[in-house]
């Protein structure tokens, strides 16, 4: 085992971690604002990957070029999901919200298969399909893009949430719905905004991923389980928590896959989650 390989393992692990983080950020934002876990988050990812692929197949447009359009499309889609579905179950219990987004998940997967079939589609030699070589080390371009994307998204969300008037309203709506309403904040609109931004974030993730991953109806399921664990590990609602947890998980997974067993590489990740929340019941950075 050479030192170079060890460094490469760390680099690859961190790179993968940023991909998980990018997916997790949108999920944690929605949760942070309105305490709802979107079980269809993986299908949002799938939708944006299909959009990127279709743009590529129809117009030959590279996913990097169409990224802003996919993000906007997903923003609108997030608003639609909020107004058509989520808003109607906000009065109910946690059960009914789990139930509604679960139904959406099944529906979106089935709809994807209905329209596109179960085939695998992939963007061929996109702008981000290559690698960057630094000395003996390999840095895959999609992972580098995820590093940039996740860091930018985190920074932008922080700026939005903590530096703008809209952000103040978002925070107010998330902390105390009633109080925010009496202060004249349109809570409903803030919730919709959270869904829009959350969906746009995962849209960016899907755009970047479509450079490397084939898209098919169940592609979301490949990523989303880890995204849930990342969100919980980082602390529900914490944006930088999701980022840090995503990176930790990516790293641990690659190391475990190399040194322990590749078919059980997720088990240490799950164990880490259990250990962390037993010590800190709100995850690494969750609000108490």
């Amino acid at each position: 085992m050479s030192g170079d390989l060890l460094v490469q393992l760390f680099l690859s692990g961190i790179g993968m971690g940023f991909i998980f983080a990018l997916i997790a950020i949108g999920l944690t934002l929605i949760y942070g604002v309105m305490n709802v876990v979107n079980f269809a988050h993986g299908e949002f990812l799938m939708l944006s990957m299909y959009a990127s692929y279709l743009a590529f197949a129809t117009w030959g447009a590279d996913p990097v070029v169409t990224l802003p359009f996919v993000a906007v499309m997903m923003f609108v889609f997030g608003l639609l999901v909020y107004y058509l579905l989520v808003r109607r179950v906000m009065q109910g219990s946690m059960n009914s919200q789990i139930f509604a987004t679960f139904g959406l998940m099944v529906f979106m997967q089935a709809a994807a298969q209905f329209i596109m079939g179960a085939d695998y589609f992939a963007v061929r030699s996109g702008l981000l399909s290559g690698v960057l070589e630094v000395g003996p080390f390999t840095l895959p371009a999609p992972q580098l893009a995820a590093v940039v994307g996740a860091s930018t998204a985190t920074g932008a969300l922080y700026w939005l949430v903590f530096r703008t008037a809209t952000g103040r309203s978002l925070r107010a709506a998330s902390q105390d719905r009633q109080a925010a309403s009496t202060l004249g904040i349109n809570v409903d609109r803030m919730y919709a905004l959270a869904w829009g931004i959350g969906a746009a974030c995962v849209g960016i993730a899907g755009s970047l991923l479509s450079n490397f991953y084939p898209v098919f109806p169940r592609v979301g399921a490949m990523f989303v389980l880890i995204a849930y664990v990342a969100v919980a590990l980082g602390g529900f609602g914490s944006i930088h928590g999701a980022l840090v947890a995503g990176v930790i998980i990516g790293l641990l997974k690659v190391l475990a896959g190399f040194f322990i067993s590749s078919q059980l590489k997720f088990v240490p990740v799950y164990l880490l989650y259990l250990i962390v929340v037993l010590v800190r019941p709100r995850g690494l950075f969750g609000r108490l």
Binding site: Q91, M94, F107, A110, Q113, F236, V277
Partner: protein, 320 residues
């Protein structure tokens, strides 16, 4: 009035197999409805009454199924003993999972149940001693109640499933009106208040977990004896855990009727839509299934049991 209607229903259910003698598909669907309703009851004790949402109950189902099957294959033990052992192992596993996880609240608990079940799923796939991904096939034995195997005629499975469901329903019914049930609901609605009244939340939750996991484990044993083949994908997969939770939530969490209603609605929808529409290879069945789930969550956020309650109340308020 109510008990009379129930007795009538039970009577009808007892003679249903006579009408389904040449319709194995419908007979099997009834068995699946009974089994899923029973699993839903099991989940409901923890999720509905005690308010601890688990999306990892497939673990207990799988443990039950694997326990009895392994005991039968490796030690030649009778499946009825396996049923007791399967329930006990599942209940013990529930307590083991519960001790650390009950310290967690809300979605942190949900994700904890999810990762525990998923880890077990992965470990069973990798574990050669229990067949790994290839699963375990139970040898065909002489049919009869003793071996809990019926080959030519599946009607006995119907009665066994019905019996199990009736027993569990009775247990939940008793539970709902018992002191234990009141304490569980108090814990769910306001844990601090319950604690200040001197109840220890941890021990009551653990008891609920043991009961819940045990019932689901027994369901797993029944499934193993019914199919005579188990593998991690059919008894431990996450999608199955979600179905176990979905049934009582759809029917109405925290009610006796909820899991039964949920199973009565969910199983036929998924079965008939599969038979009728899936030949297209386009997933029309799941399209409908997903749409209906959204529809119900929007119009009946408390589950289908709420439908009946609302109707009854409306009727009661009609003057004259």
């Amino acid at each position: 009035m109510k008990s009379l209607a129930l007795a009538g229903l039970l009577g009808v259910l007892l003679v249903v197999p006579l009408a389904l003698s040449d319709r194995p598909f419908e007979l099997r669907m009834m068995v699946v409805i009974f089994l899923y309703a029973m699993l839903g009851h099991g989940w409901n004790i923890l999720g509905g009454y005690a308010g601890q949402i688990s999306v990892g109950h497939g673990l207990f189902f799988g443990l039950g199924a694997y326990t009895s099957t392994v005991l039968s294959l490796k030690l030649g033990l009778n499946p009825w003993f396996g049923m007791a052992a399967g329930g006990a192992v599942a209940a013990a596993a529930g307590v083991l999972v519960g001790i650390p996880c009950f310290r967690l609240k809300g979605h942190y608990f949900v994700i904890a149940t999810l990762v525990v079940a998923e880890s077990a799923f992965q470990l069973f796939i990798a574990w050669d001693w229990v067949g790994g991904a290839m699963g375990l096939q139970l040898p065909v034995q002489e049919q009869g109640l003793l071996n809990l195997q019926f080959h030519r005629n599946k009607v006995p499975y119907y009665y066994i499933a019905l019996g199990l469901l009736a027993a569990v329903t009775a247990l939940v019914w008793w539970l709902e009106n018992s002191r234990f049930g009141y304490i569980l609901r108090a814990l769910r609605d306001d844990e601090e208040a319950a604690r200040s009244l001197g109840f220890s939340p941890a021990s009551y939750k653990l008891l609920a977990m043991a009961l819940s996991a045990g019932i689901v484990g027994i369901g797993g044993v029944f499934f193993a004896q019914y199919v005579l083949f188990i593998d991690p994908f059919s008894v431990l997969a996450l999608s199955f855990s979600v179905v176990i939770a979905l049934i009582p939530i759809l029917g109405g969490a925290g009610t006796v009727a909820g899991p039964i209603l949920g199973a009565i609605v969910l199983v036929p929808i998924s079965e008939y839509s599969r038979v009728l529409f899936s030949g297209t290879g386009r997933n029309v069945d799941l399209l409908i299934y997903g749409f209906l789930i959204m529809l119900i969550s929007v119009y009946r956020p408390d589950g289908l049991a709420g439908l009946f309650r609302a109707r009854r109340e409306r009727r009661e308020y009609v003057p004259g």
